[in-house]
Amino acid sequence: MVYQKALGLFIISLLPIIGVAQDQENVSINVSATVAGSVEMITINTVDFDDIEQEGSVIRVDPIFGERAGKMVARGTPNAAFRVDYIRERELMNQNGNGVIFFSYEVAGNSIDDQETSELLDQDIRDLQFNEDGEFYFWIGGSVDLSDINPGNYQGEFTIEIEYI
C-alpha cells in the first residue's frame, strides 16, 4: 500500500516538467490564390408577354412573382463575389415596320433556384456571390407602355454585365 502511494507521487511530480519542456515548435502557413473563371450565362426562359392581361396601357411582368418572367443562370467560380449591372431601359424595334417601344427591365437574383425568395436588383451596381456550385439565378421582368404604338412584333436585347470583384 505504501509502495503504491510513493509511485503515484513520483509520476505526478514529473508531469510539470514534461509540460514546460518545449524547445521545438511547428506551425503551418496556408498559401492561397483564387483563380477567377469566365462567366457563362444560360437563358432558361425568355420573358413572355404573349396574351398578357393589360392594366391600362402598361403591361408588366413581375420578376419575383411573375410566372412569365425570363430566367437565366450564371455559372462562374464557386463562392466568388461578383458585381452585376444591367441596362435598365432598352429600345425594342418593330420587326414588321416602323415603331419603337421602350422596355424597362426589372431583374431579381438569388443564389438558390427559387424565384419567390429572390431579391430585386434595383441599385446601380450590386455585390453578389455565386453559390457553392458556382451558380447564380436571375429572373427578368419589366414593363412596357403600349399606348400609341404600331402593331407588330417587337424584339430587343437584354444586357447584363457580371464582373468578379
Binding site: 524547445d23 521545438q24 466568388a80 468578379y164
Partner: protein, 184 residues
Amino acid sequence: MQVISAQDIRFGDYGEYTIEIEDVGLEDLIFEGPINSNSGIHEVELIDSKVLSIIGVKYLDVDVEITADGKLYLDGDPSYDNDPQRSIPFTLRASFANEGENNVTSSRQIGIANTPSMSSGSTRFPILSRRQQPPGPPPTPPTGDFDQSLVNETAYLYFYGQIDVGNVVAGSYRGTITVTVEYR
C-alpha cells in the same frame, strides 16, 4: 581515414528553454486577385510577406526547417498533383531577420530548393544577431530562479514567392508551408 568533427555543443539541450512561434498579422500568404487562367506569374514580394515571429532565448541558435507543397492545389486537394489544370506551380522564398526588429530590409534570404513536388530549405541563426562578434561564453543553464523572459528576444521569418498560373480551372487554390523551429 580520420574524421575530425568541429566542436559542436547543443546548449539548448542543457536547459528547459521554451520557444514560441507567433503569427504577425492573421492573414495567410495570399496571392491577391484578380488572377485569371493563363495569366502567368503572380508574385508576393518580400515587403508583402507573410511574417512569423520566433520568441526565444536571444543567445541561443535555432534551426529553422521549412517545407512546402511545390504547387497550390484546387480546393487544397493534393491528389491533383499531376493535373496541370488543377494545380499551380508555387515557388517559395523565405528570409529571416534577427536584429531584434521586424524589418525586411535587414533580412537575409534562406536558401529554398524548389522542385515541382516540394520546396524545402533550412537555416541556423541566433535569435539575436551577434553582429559579427565571436560568440560569448556558454550561457548559464537555467536554475530555479531563471526567468527566461529576461533573456528573450524576437526574430522574424518572412515568406513570399510566386505562382505561375497556367491553363487552370477557376476556383480556390491552396497549399501549405510547414515551419519547424528548434534550439540548436
